[in-house]
Symmetry: D3
Amino acid sequence: MVHITRRERFNAAHRLFRAEWNDEKNMQVFGKCSNPNWHGHNYELFVTVKGELNPETGFVINLKLLSEIIKEKVTSKLDHKNVNLEVEFMTGKLASSENLAVAIWNELEEDINKLGAKLYSVKLIETENNFVEYYGE
Amino acid sequence: MVHITRRERFNAAHRLFRAEWNDEKNMQVFGKCSNPNWHGHNYELFVTVKGELNPETGFVINLKLLSEIIKEKVTSKLDHKNVNLEVEFMTGKLASSENLAVAIWNELEEDINKLGAKLYSVKLIETENNFVEYYGE
Amino acid sequence: MVHITRRERFNAAHRLFRAEWNDEKNMQVFGKCSNPNWHGHNYELFVTVKGELNPETGFVINLKLLSEIIKEKVTSKLDHKNVNLEVEFMTGKLASSENLAVAIWNELEEDINKLGAKLYSVKLIETENNFVEYYGE
Amino acid sequence: MVHITRRERFNAAHRLFRAEWNDEKNMQVFGKCSNPNWHGHNYELFVTVKGELNPETGFVINLKLLSEIIKEKVTSKLDHKNVNLEVEFMTGKLASSENLAVAIWNELEEDINKLGAKLYSVKLIETENNFVEYYGE
Amino acid sequence: MVHITRRERFNAAHRLFRAEWNDEKNMQVFGKCSNPNWHGHNYELFVTVKGELNPETGFVINLKLLSEIIKEKVTSKLDHKNVNLEVEFMTGKLASSENLAVAIWNELEEDINKLGAKLYSVKLIETENNFVEYYGE
Amino acid sequence: MVHITRRERFNAAHRLFRAEWNDEKNMQVFGKCSNPNWHGHNYELFVTVKGELNPETGFVINLKLLSEIIKEKVTSKLDHKNVNLEVEFMTGKLASSENLAVAIWNELEEDINKLGAKLYSVKLIETENNFVEYYGE
């Protein structure tokens, strides 16, 4: 049983706010992250998959396939996009790193399981000082 | 004569586009960087100053003062902002890294010269793969 | 249940030694790390907290509060200090990274629990080649 | 119980291929990684050990000893070598990162246990985008 | 006049040796880098271009075009290759980082000049401890 | 003419202060960096040498020799030391990064010139936010 991790990156805009709160309340809770004119990040995404080694290939999973799944299901939908306005799988959700990591997990899980491995964790780095990890539960 | 460098960071949204071009033309020239809904980056800014060593302090410049100048004149105006919409010193300019580096130089030069040193370069990292440097000419 | 991590940094001096051992014995066990004139490091501290997502904010914990707790309880007491001589919560303890990580955990646990989350791990990087992690047990 | 990690590095050549497959089949499964003329990497190896703190030293394990074990048993055999042709403990195995991590675990486990600690994980970074971890089971 | 830099990466095998020297002499001069079974690196390549800003685009050069030139002329020929055996522009040259940087400059200069900018430097990182830079003279 | 750079590292304690000033004045000028109980850093040192390529070896300079010179003349005297108290070549000088970079240049220049190359720059990184460079004049 080995864990293997693929890093992919995307650059996106977002803001933290609740539509039912006024600007003052949003600013109080979310601070400068609620700027109505948006801000953005260079996100780094680490997807970790766990599985037995295939004796023929010495692989848990073909990393090229893993990379393609992450690009198709996740980073192509996020890169150079606005997380709040343009990302279908984030519709109706606060664009926090926590919610984004959980949503990315849900986008990836099924396709990765089809490859015969198990999604183990999604790690999303927002800045060099802040990151989140989700383990599916 | 020693060069000393201070790094500061800011997270901002931007897009590349010319108002007089339609979306198709903007997309053709700027690609996904012209997305009308914005995207963003974790920018890293390296400001390098050059000068003689002060024999009393062993300093080219007091780095605390340099950091305060950069924050007051540059990063406080850019952090968690939209470069196109909210940054006075970028008004009317394309929000490219090149233009941003030149504008940051212009914001900093006078205040740094007052400290008795000379601004040597502004380096602006947009992503781990792309950065620009401006030397004032 | 999401894990969220905040990085903070501090620069400190320390030495490894036991007062009841002579210099020769200390040098034999701790090598150059027992230099009586001290040496120092740029420490990086990663504090990981685990919790349910608050449905109103999309947060495990407000990272601004977490950062303030870490600064108040830990890094303000360590930054530009001598770990052996000036850090109350290390009094009477060997200034190893292991002991420091455990002591940092003890400083942080109560205040983080009051925020409704659970301290998950403390990771302390001493050099690019050496780091320790403590999970509270 | 604290986890402590030591990083060591090695630069090596390798290729992915099965001798019983022809070049076409190898290329189809392993892509450019099966180039018969080899390619190579700057590998980073993180060895994590877990144990109680020794009350006399404040250590889980003497990192100098851990570093020496890793060098003797692993990196001296891999650095500036060809993983497929010159590394005895990889004989007969596909030179994937997954197999390499498992083989490194097997090289290290006994010697580390003799020091009174427990090998916890082997993390092997092949590129900035790809790494594997093995926890011994 | 702004400098802009694009990073590209490639993983390759190489060895340092002179065919007219015997193994002993090669080992004496080049050490373990002359291992006849090869070793390899994750090379990082930074290509810096200098030019006036295009007032229409705010660009020195279109980074997408620069990246394509680097891939076509350089990294596609080096990635997952053996520098000594498979890289036409290195034929008959010692596969040192110095020679590689100069050869990369020669591959790139003409195509970059055609874009109306000037190649300023080629920086080639071989390991985290060693890198070379070439400025064209 | 190629530039080649070797990185070496050292961990040291220091403080910024002038003996003829009282603690209050030192604190006012140098801030927490003047703490009488010391603090410390993981310093990174980049030594850049410039020269013609040796046609026999493809080298500007043998990096193994360069590394040995840096260790003998510089890092062995600084690593796990107190810059103010134990480093002969810093005696009587303020232990600022600027002074340290100049002093390191002076330690290295003669030995590097003997190898037939020219010392080009000394870059000293004190923290991820602060570094200095000295070019010998």
